[in-house]
Amino acid sequence: MGVEQFQKNPSITIKSWVEAYSDKMYSWALYKTNNKETSEDLVQQTFMIAYQSFDKFEDRSNPKTWLFGILNHKIADHFRKIYRNPVINESDRNPEAGKDFLDTFFDADGSWIKEQRPKPWPEDAHLFDNADFIKIMHSCMNKLPSNWFAVINLKYLEEKKGDLICQELEITPTNFWQILHRAKLQLRKCLEIHWFKK
């Protein structure tokens, strides 16, 4: 088979892409969503879309970049869905769900509750390279309520601008930074318990 024919036949080309890129795509999706089934679905969908819209792919562009573009789009869709329909067992993931969340950090005057008062973390220039710390952070992130996790992911996926995310999720900018405020309070607390106070 000549090279020309190879490039013109979408199913053969895409098969070679499955061989070359599907592991990397799967790893990325898994890293983002922390869910094997979801990641498998997303990769599968990505290849289907790539196949169906193969004529939009220009030979000169990099297949990996193109595929990851589609995949990131699907991942963002996934988080938008989660934001709108958060998982039902939310109370399992957020033990404080019954109370007003902020009341677990601040008293009636809006001052920090004594045990929650932030104190400086020790200086550690290599913290982000510490594999144990990264593991803890990962598990703390995955303990966040699913809709908060979705908002954070959307914010950092493709470095989206805040106003764009608000439009997509149909939330007000105020709502957006309030969610980030809560998510960060929660994550901070988790890091303190499992890392800084150990």
Partner: protein, 88 residues
């Protein structure tokens, strides 16, 4: 004077909210002054701001794949994708 002080005073709850808001959007003049005043008197919120920035940096690095581990998609699924495409 009391009126001015009231205008300037923030609770820690509100201050920590403004700290997050500031990382995303521009604060108004009033909010900036309030936050500045509050931090100059409150070591807890000053620490919170530093930690919040640190967490931001972490999110940024982490969510962009700095700590990714490569796992493989199972072969059965790969074959399934290839088969589905082959059929079309």
């Amino acid at each position: 004077m009391k009126k001015i002080m009231n205008w300037l005073m923030l609770s820690c709850k509100k201050a920590s909210e403004l700290i997050e808001k500031k990382l995303l959007v521009r604060l108004s003049f009033k909010e900036n002054v309030q936050l500045h005043m509050h931090k100059s008197m409150c070591s807890a919120c000053t620490a919170y701001e530093q930690q919040s920035k640190k967490i931001d940096e972490l999110f940024h690095k982490h969510l962009n794949g700095d700590h990714i581990t490569i796992s493989s998609l199972n072969d059965r699924l790969k074959q399934k994708i290839i088969n589905t495409i082959g059929k079309n």
